[in-house]
Amino acid sequence: MKTTSLKFFRVAPFLLAVLLWLTCFSLPAVTQAKKIPQQRFFIGFAAGFFFPQQETFREIYNHAIWPMELRLDWDIFGSFSVFGAARYLETSGSTVSLFPELPAETHALHWQMATLRLGLNYRFGRSRFAPFAGMGGSFSFFREQWRDVALNTDGKKAGFFFQAGGRYRLNRFWQALAQLDYSVIPAGIGSRGKVHLGGLTLLLGLMAGLF
């Protein structure tokens, strides 16, 4: 499995901060513009809950997993929009014993995953509440760390996803977002056979129209 350095995980929060900063400081300028008929480019932030599809994953990382996502949506033509997103999640867990009947030995674990997502959404209607559905591809960087021993696995894998949700226009610039997606990320062979890093994610967020 190819590995990636820890630098990525340090860069992601930095990028997030930069984009948030850009959002906050560009909004006043945008609001001052008098005649903008409709916003076509949105930037948003969402957070939610991730439910891993693989049972082994859930067994090992049995704590709640709260992903965060920074996303950009661009209404390109008609009811279609292109979107890109950077999603990050981390969680902790502990190893599982292969032989439950024997004395247990557990080690603390830490899991981090950053996923870049690119896709296409179709919006149903242009009313205040606009449901949408879409799909796209993803590329994930992940790292599994054993806390008490130097045993790390870094990897990167491509996948795809389907999603559906709705956007609710709060005012001229702000929209609320709710989205449910299902991702498929086959991630090679692990200690107990094939690893699947995908699953269901529920996100709630806020989108700001930039221009």
Partner: protein, 550 residues
């Protein structure tokens, strides 16, 4: 598969089919002798999967016996095979080691020699007197192809890995073994070598060789050991005999440490004069010296001391013994074979410790245990193609075996000039001391500790897994000693009876121990000792495998 290989495969198949038609005497299921090169892991795997048998692993190739249908299967897996022979009834096959451009003095029609790799030939003959045509010096190993062809299993080199240079526990009994090592007598070695040399020849089948065997048997009896002749037959009605004695183990007598040497000899005039002082009166004298010193001691395991003949004819004596041991299910944990240990040459004083991959742990343990007692250098040589002595017979039966041999070219080798005057007996003494220390350690010489050996050792192994990794943890427990002790030391090895590493820096007082962060794909073996208040450790407990009580 490349076109050339395909063509080769088709031609070979055609040849095999036509051979089966033309020569009805050789049945179509009669296995073939093949040479496979290179001799890598892929080739070993394919050979096994195809149902073929590795007859001999050489440096650059494998000699393989395979049924005809397996040949195509191996070629389909991109294994380069060369047909060497389709053996027939009445034919003898030998591996022949000779550095000469041609090992034969003439070219008789019933002897063929085919070069397999540098200095290694396959000799094929129906002539029982073929040795008369061979030019000395040479070495022979008989290949028992007929038994292989009847489906007898042979072992191949495995994947065992031994750690090199581990900071391991050297010996529980350094002081006691030091005392034993000091008892090795150069003068006794000289006297025994001279006695063996004075038989004029010990060429197997000669009356003098029989007399030499009787001398060894008598010596064992003098030491109060129960010894016996172990006769065997080879190449028809030729007879040889091994001499074997046992020092029974006190705690686990079914486990055996075996030390051996061949006492037969050869030369350029073998029926008349073959003094064989270095080859191998030196090794035989070493076994006699081991018997003298070890007979008075107590060990946990049994020690078998074995002097074989028929070595120069093709390792017949050791082959007979090893096969019999395997048939009887003998638990031989290690074999120390000594062959030519008294001619170090002028350049350096090095004793090579030759092992195959399966026996690598034994070389590690030999060197770790013996080196502190001696000045000569011990070099580990891992090479399964070095089959020219009796350790090879034990390798063939899957036993861990090493050969201790001088690292030099003896110019008197297999000549009438191989006499005691040419030997360096200081070197031989150190080689015997090294072997003695190792055998005593492997057989677990009784400790002088006041603590008794711990009992009731149990092991359970748990595997913890994450998404991508696994680690093994081993849990040990045992019964507490009743006498006052300072605690216990726990030892771990990666091969059964291998090089034990002490896991405890100080004696632990608990009767449980946890050994975490282990490779789940490896098997570990544990023993423990009890430490008396003076810090002396008891003998090892019974060895347990990590998952023995899962």
């Amino acid at each position: 598969m490349p076109m050339q290989a395909k063509l080769k495969s088709i031609l070979l198949t055609l040849w095999l089919v036509s051979a089966a038609w033309i020569a009805p005497a050789s049945s179509s299921t009669q296995p073939l002798l093949l040479k496979i090169s290179p001799a890598g892991q892929h080739e070993l795997l394919v050979v096994t999967e195809a149902g073929a048998t590795v007859v001999q692993e050489l440096r650059s190739c494998l000699l393989v016996s395979a049924p005809p249908q397996a040949v195509a299967q191996m070629q389909a897996a991109d294994v380069a095979t060369v047909l060497i022979a389709a053996p027939a009834q009445g034919e003898f096959f030998f591996l022949l080691h000779s550095k000469l451009p041609s090992p034969l003095s003439a070219q008789p029609g019933d002897i063929t020699c085919q070069l397999l790799e540098e200095s290694v030939w396959l000799l094929r003959t129906t002539n029982p007197d073929f040795r008369d045509w061979l030019v000395q010096p040479f070495r022979l190993k008989a290949l028992r192809l007929s038994e292989l062809f009847s489906g007898r299993a042979r072992t191949t080199s495995g994947q065992f890995q031994a750690e090199n240079g581990v900071a391991a526990h050297l010996s529980l009994r350094t002081a006691i073994i030091q005392d034993l090592v000091a008892k090795v007598s150069l003068e006794r070695l000289r006297a025994d070598i001279l006695t063996l040399q004075n038989f004029q020849t010990r060429y197997t089948t000669t009356p003098q060789c029989t007399a030499a065997g009787d001398f060894i048997l008598g010596r064992f009896h003098q030491l109060g050991l129960a010894a016996e002749n172990d006769p065997f037959y080879f190449e028809g009605s030729k007879e040889g005999k091994n001499i074997v004695t046992v020092i029974p183990g006190k705690l686990t007598p079914e486990k055996i440490v075996l030390a051996c040497a061949h006492y037969d000899s050869t030369s350029n005039n073998p029926l008349v004069f073959a003094p064989g002082a270095d080859d191998n009166a030196s090794g035989t004298a070493a076994i006699l010296e081991l018997a003298r010193i070890l007979a008075a001691e107590e060990f946990s395991f049994s020690i078998v001391l074995l002097c074989v003949s028929g070595e120069e004819q093709g390792l017949y004596g050791s082959d007979h013994y090893a096969r019999q041991a395997r048939r009887d299910g003998a638990e031989i944990i290690a074999v120390v074979n000594l062959d030519m240990i008294a001619y170090p040459g002028r350049q350096q004083r090095v004793l090579d410790v030759i092992v195959n991959r399966q026996s690598e742990w034994l070389a590690d343990r030999f060197i770790a245990v013996a080196q502190p007692y001696i000045e000569l250098r011990l070099d580990k040589v891992v090479d399964a193609s070095l089959t020219w002595s009796d350790h090879s017979s034990f390798w063939d039966e899957g036993y861990a075996a090493l050969c201790g041999i001088e690292d030099s070219e003896n110019p008197y080798y297999h000549r009438t000039t191989d006499t005691v005057e040419t030997l360096d007996l200081d070197f031989a003494t150190e080689a015997v001391q090294a072997s003695l220390a190792t055998v005593a350690e492997l057989a677990q010489l009784k400790s002088n500790s006041a603590a008794s050996m711990p009992t009731g050792l149990r092991a359970q192994s748990q595997v913890s897994y994450s998404l991508y990794n696994r680690l093994k943890t081993v849990f040990l427990s045992w019964q507490a000693n009743t006498e006052p002790i300072a605690g216990y030391h726990v030892y771990r090895a990666e091969q059964s009876h291998g090089l034990y590493q002490c896991l405890t820096t100080q004696p632990v007082s608990a009767t449980t121990f946890r050994d975490p962060f282990l490779d789940p794909d490896k098997t570990y073996f544990y023993v423990l000792t009890a430490v008396d208040p003076q810090g002396r450790q008891s003998n090892y407990s019974r060895e347990v495998r990590d998952d023995e009580n899962n």
